[in-house]
Symmetry: C2
């Protein structure tokens, strides 16, 4: 069982107030899948007509529930739907037994909730390679369906946690034609991945009316700009799943609304930042802004190379304004760069420009900046107009503590 | 200045006996480039006709000495030649001043040794972004040239060290037509890179006679199979340099000799393993063998994904037979894989096969195996005949200690 870690020093002060989203109800239960003395299963019930979009891990070793969800996305939206998530066991790398467990769970949810099986989406997060004791989940369904409640989203955020040190929630609203639509989301993830307790999971809900195809394109674009721009340790889960459900219960059609897409992306970014802030062992939250690259794609490659470099991350942990390691990470990324046009800043402090240390650089100023909890590293490649921003955390003894004796 | 670390627990018992290579002489000096109380410059002098091949970092932010060496490789071999290496300062990311420093050093060596400037190869390793005080090197040349000695290779291995905890040397010989040719090499590197004291450097010498083109192809192929198959922390230096010099002094022409190429590769592999064994904070040496991939390239991609995964490396540090993290690393590598044909073993212990935990798997056996200092992780992808082997070390608190407060 997971080692319990102290609350991340980067945690928000408290869980935010999330709005009730008309058309969705939640319940949770302590089913004892693996953990004792805490909730570990959440059920969300969605009214008929709810459109559902999703993005998933690109891992070649995707888990059975991920493959099942992927296959169901894009189907008809007429009927009611359900999302069931368990923590404690990821049902990943569990062979044919894993597929059978997904089938058993989705069949039971279908029956208990009166929704078609192809409208039941399930996720599992936790240890890899152990058979999922799915009967503990299916036997909990009566308790779950009788407890469904519109105000249950915060409890749901708790039930899906594994090594997370805090539950993650975010919300936004947008006014369209004088009416308000709301968006609320929850996430779990402590690191881009913690494979034994595998997975980043994200669930977003809105009362907006929008067809599935457009919802999918908003979600896909948002994932590229938010969850695909964070990294804790460069590792990728076999189970990462994001689902967004639009119930339509507000009666407000958001088709073509840029404001709605922006609000969804804001919620996604907020949750993505919270995942980084709960990164294993994290003591610093770092935004890496790359500009002047040959393309946006190149800028992203440079930014992720910096964000994933163990040497950059340990320097940040040590509050060391070690710009030489940034030069190294840009150089090794594989994207285009020119040593002699490169500029680097920590916050507003320019440390290097035109291929060398800045003449105005003062080590004491930079060292003082590095003591902050939230840092910005700016890198201008100096050869084009491509740009990207990614977020990461530092690499500390805490990461080693959590991961070097995790299963013991 | 670098923190002095304790001798790596993976260090060899002693420096090996290296043969004298006819045609090359060595000297070292304490020039005070950055360090005090130790040698920090080595000079190697090579007789006329020596052919020289090299491989270099592929970083886009290569240092001035690397660019200068690259440009000189492949030129005429008629004249004598020299290699000068300093530790303490990498002369990387030092703008136009860096180029001027290389020009000043190579001009001075040319004059002092009586060799053309285009036959002077120089490398620098150490802190990035500080001007190289090259006068300390050029002023030491009289001392260096008068001390040149055929038996000086072990002292040279010491002079090029930075954060290394032990000097690295290896040798081989091969009999061709009843005559013996010898190969001796030295290396430095503690991690694939330690960017402030940047660089892996490797110098190989042989008395064989071989033309430059063929020597280059042996060296390039060997680099792909040895130094490009090791990783400590996935980071890549701005300065990595390998040079091999063939003096021809044995009079033995090794053109087309497979035995010679194999012997060179053996020396390269030995030195590559020593670099991993001196990996920052390393306590385990790990060989990762991937078989059954769609191609050799895919096998290498999978192997490096496993070798670079912080979660795999921390599990090894924790002596945890955590095969779920291997599944994850294969899944994220980007190379082709099929979850349901994957097999994983630790040494001879099969832990997973056909997409699930092996029915014969015994956690106690695997846990006992993980306590060894030298580990083998075998992964069969099960979809083709591609294979690759790479070497890495674990990720420990020692790595954080060394890198989180390195410059302080």
């Amino acid at each position: 069982m997971a080692k319990t870690s102290a609350l991340s020093p980067l945690a928000p002060a408290r869980f935010p107030d999330l709005p009730v989203i008309d058309g969705v109800t939640f319940s949770t239960i302590a089913a004892g899948v693996r953990y004792q003395g805490r909730t570990d299963v959440m059920l969300a019930h969605l009214i008929p007509g709810t459109t559902i979009a999703g993005t998933f891990t690109r891992s070649a070793t995707r888990s059975a529930p991920v493959l099942d969800c992927e296959a169901k996305i894009g189907g008809p939206s007429d009927d009611a739907a359900a999302i069931l998530v368990n923590s404690g066991n990821s049902n990943a790398f569990t062979g044919k037994g894993g597929v059978q467990a997904v089938d058993a769970i989705t069949a039971a949810v279908s029956k208990a909730c009166g929704v078609p099986q192809n409208r039941v989406f399930t996720s599992s997060t936790g240890v890899i390679g152990e058979p999922l004791p799915y009967e503990r989940i299916t036997e909990s369904l009566t308790g779950l369906t009788t407890a469904l409640d519109a105000g249950g989203i915060e409890a749901a955020a708790h039930a899906i946690m594994t090594t997370d040190t805090f539950p993650k929630g975010a919300a936004a609203s947008v006014d369209i034609d004088g009416k308000t639509v709301s968006i609320a989301g929850i996430a779990k993830g402590s690191g881009m991945i913690a494979p034994d307790m595998a997975t980043m999971l994200v669930y977003l809900f809105t009362d907006a009316r929008i067809d599935q195809t457009e919802l999918q394109s908003i979600v896909s674009a948002g994932t590229d700009r938010t969850f695909n721009c964070i990294t804790v340790d460069s590792d990728t889960s076999t189970s990462d799943t994001l689902l967004m459900a639009a119930t339509g219960a507000s009666g407000v059609d958001v088709t073509g609304s840029a404001g709605f897409a922006t609000a969804v992306h804001d919620v996604m970014r907020d949750l993505a930042h919270q995942v980084v802030r709960d990164g294993e062992g994290a003591t610093k939250f770092v935004e890496i802004q790359v500009t002047g690259a040959a393309s946006d794609k190149d800028a992203h490659t440079h930014a992720m190379s910096i964000a994933n470099s163990p040497l950059v991350k340990t320097a940040i942990a040590g509050e060391d304004a070690n710009w030489g390691r940034i030069v190294m990470a840009v150089g090794k990324s594989g994207a285009a760069a020119d040593r002699d046009t490169l500029s680097i800043r920590f916050g507003d402090i320019v440390v290097a420009e035109n291929g060398w240390r800045s003449p105005n650089y003062n080590e004491d100023d930079a060292a003082a900046h590095m003591k902050a909890q939230n840092l910005v590293i700016g890198v201008d490649i100096g050869i084009g107009s491509g740009q990207a921003t990614v977020w990461t955390c530092d690499l500390t003894h805490g990461y080693i503590d959590i991961n070097a004796d995790y299963r013991s």
